[in-house]
């Protein structure tokens, strides 16, 4: 008990509650999930939880075309969405930065999508792009652009596009707000100096503004990579993986396998693949953030 009274015990005591909660709600479940992924655990047959089958679930996953399609689609989805959000967010930040009036109001409007629950964004876009009552089809129809309603969420190639649109609408603001904060902190002197030296606006942007913004880009990427899986909520309400599996992501496939088909063992194996993917994405951007910060010679 004496250790607890020592000054060097204080930080551990302060951290104890946090550690206990994370252990109980994240670490222990992860161990359970790890174990389950080596069993044929089925919700309808509780005894199967203690039947060890080695790597069978993983072997089956690796040989399963549906899994690979969902996995590839997920990676593609994350890549396209993050890049689009970054480019659009940068554009939006540069635009707002040029505006001289009402910048505060504009920034407030920009935060609007960030407050939306992903499930709400999904509902919203499902409604806007509905073939019968949706705003988009109604507008196109009344403007005489289309004669037949476009089945946005029913068509195999339009549905993924619509989902990416919804995702980009939801998360571009995160990039725009962080990059705008970066632009506002941008030192004026190097830009003035470059202009005096005869740099054109593109050169100034490419060699001064952009490098300065990179840490902000990576912060945004890191924050975003923490919750890319929120896209599950959106897809769940918009298409639930359909039509014909064309929007099936790793996350929807996982819940279908686990809860609808009760194959918890298999679902947890997929869960591990998705967890590792998320960690890799976050780790990659975090490393970039640290090196960008060091390059800037910034704080710590």
């Amino acid at each position: 008990m004496n250790f607890l009274r020592l000054p060097r015990a204080t930080p551990y005591l302060l951290l104890l509650p946090a550690i206990v909660v994370i252990l109980g709600v994240v670490l222990v479940p992860l161990v359970v999930s790890f174990w389950t992924s080596f069993t044929p655990y089925n919700l309808t047959k509780p005894a199967t939880l203690f039947q060890f089958v080695g790597l069978r679930n993983y072997e089956r996953l690796l040989g399963n075309a549906d899994f690979w399609w969902a996995f590839g689609r997920t990676i593609l989805f994350i890549t396209i969405a993050l890049n689009l959000e970054m480019v659009l967010g940068l554009g939006l930040a540069l635009l707002i930065n040029k505006v001289t009036w009402g910048q505060r109001t504009l920034r407030t409007i920009m935060m609007f999508p960030m407050m939306f629950s992903p499930i709400l964004v999904g509902f919203q876009f499902k409604y806007l792009f509905n073939d019968a009552v949706g705003l988009v089809n109604n507008a196109l129809f009344d403007l005489g652009i289309i004669q037949q309603p476009i089945p946005w969420l029913v068509d195999g190639s339009l549905a993924p596009l619509t989902i990416i649109l919804a995702e980009v609408w939801m998360s571009t603001s995160v990039f725009a707000i962080l990059l705008l904060a970066g632009l506002m902190a941008l030192p004026k002197e190097p830009i003035e100096a470059a202009k005096v030296d005869g740099c054109n606006p593109w050169q100034v942007f490419r060699h001064i503004t952009l490098p300065f913004l990179m840490p902000f880009v990576y912060i945004a990427m890191t924050i975003r990579s923490l919750d890319v899986a929120r896209a599950y909520d959106m897809v769940r309400i918009m298409t639930n993986g359909g039509p014909a599996g064309r929007t099936e992501l790793l996350w929807t496939l996982m819940t279908r396998t686990g809860y609808n088909n009760s194959q918890m063992g298999m679902a947890n194996a997929m869960g591990y693949v998705s967890i590792l993917t998320s960690i890799l994405f976050t780790y990659y951007f975090y490393r970039k953030l640290v090196s960008a910060r060091a390059f800037m010679g910034g704080a710590q």
């Binding site: 302060l14 946090a18 830009i191 899986a229 819940t255």
Partner: protein, 286 residues
């Protein structure tokens, strides 16, 4: 205007139009849903489309609260109370616990500090959907499925790492000298924290609290698996009640969407200044 460049009139107009279009895209989808919530169903389903609302009504709201004879009411009032209780409780606890952790990281040097910090951050990267599978197994054995307590515990764990990250950044911005000076003047370490450092970190804590609240309030993946009935179902899960196999009650869902978005909007606008500072400085100076 950036760095004193001279803009020609056409450039100024191009910027204005660009900003207008961008803002329209950001606002229109949400505004359209809000408008739909106040329109009668016939008007929403009408062909050809009725663009200018002919009459606005509270009918849809009365409907989802079961105040109409014609419509089977949903237990939306229960969902709303569940959501509030679960979000507020988990936020308060997560902030208290996370703040202690953030303070420890900002002010002390100890063995395993870097590894612990990394551990917390990694725990946040686990997708909710993936975590829901083992939690479902464990919570059903512990009898925590379909209870508010079960969900509160989960949301605490979801929010603690981010709170630690943010508060660590905020406490670091406060000079150590302040607390040391207070201690020289006879304060205990606790008094120095409570009377000097805590008030200074308050805006940071406010933004951390908003993030935690919004995360819990908007969460769907975990709640959809860990709740079953009106005993613990939250608003986002309740939204799915409106979708049957082939029919969707657009006006009812829009009314419910308004109920989900209003508390989030109000809270965010109150503290929006802190929110941006929280996001940026937590990261850059972290």
């Amino acid at each position: 205007m950036s760095a004193g460049s001279i803009e020609r009139p056409w450039q100024r107009w191009a910027i204005r139009i660009g900003v207008f279009i961008a803002m329209l895209i950001l606002v229109l989808p949400g505004a359209w849903v809000v408008l739909t919530a106040f329109r009668p169903n016939i008007e929403v389903l009408a062909r050809p489309a009725v663009w200018i609302p002919q009459n606005l009504t509270l009918h849809n709201f009365l409907g989802i609260f079961g105040r109409l004879d014609t419509q089977q009411g949903l237990p939306v009032a229960n969902y709303f109370i569940n959501s509030m209780v679960i979000s507020v409780t988990s936020t308060v606890v997560a902030i208290a616990v996370g703040m202690m952790g953030g303070y420890a990281f900002a002010r002390y040097r100890f063995r395993g500090k870097a590894a612990l910090f990394l551990g917390f951050m990694l725990s946040r990267t686990v997708p909710g959907v993936a975590l829901s599978l083992p939690l479902f197994i464990l919570w059903s054995r512990l009898g925590l499925i379909d209870t508010s307590v079960g969900l509160i515990i989960v949301y605490m764990a979801v929010n603690i790492p981010f709170t630690i990250w943010l508060t660590d950044g905020f406490f670091r911005q406060i000079p150590v000298d302040l607390s040391e000076a207070a201690q020289i003047d006879g304060c205990t370490r606790w008094q120095a924290f409570w009377k000097v450092e805590f008030p200074l970190a308050r805006s940071g804590l406010a933004s951390a609290a908003i993030f935690a609240f919004l995360t819990s309030w908007n969460e769907y993946a975990l709640a959809s698996q860990l709740t079953r009935t009106t005993a613990s179902k939250t608003m986002p899960v309740g939204l799915m009640d409106f979708t049957a196999q082939f029919t969707v009650d657009w006006t009812g869902m829009s009314a419910m969407a308004v109920l989900i978005i209003v508390p989030a909007l109000v809270l965010t606008f109150i503290v929006q200044k802190h929110l941006i500072a929280g996001l940026t400085f937590g990261g850059v100076k972290g």
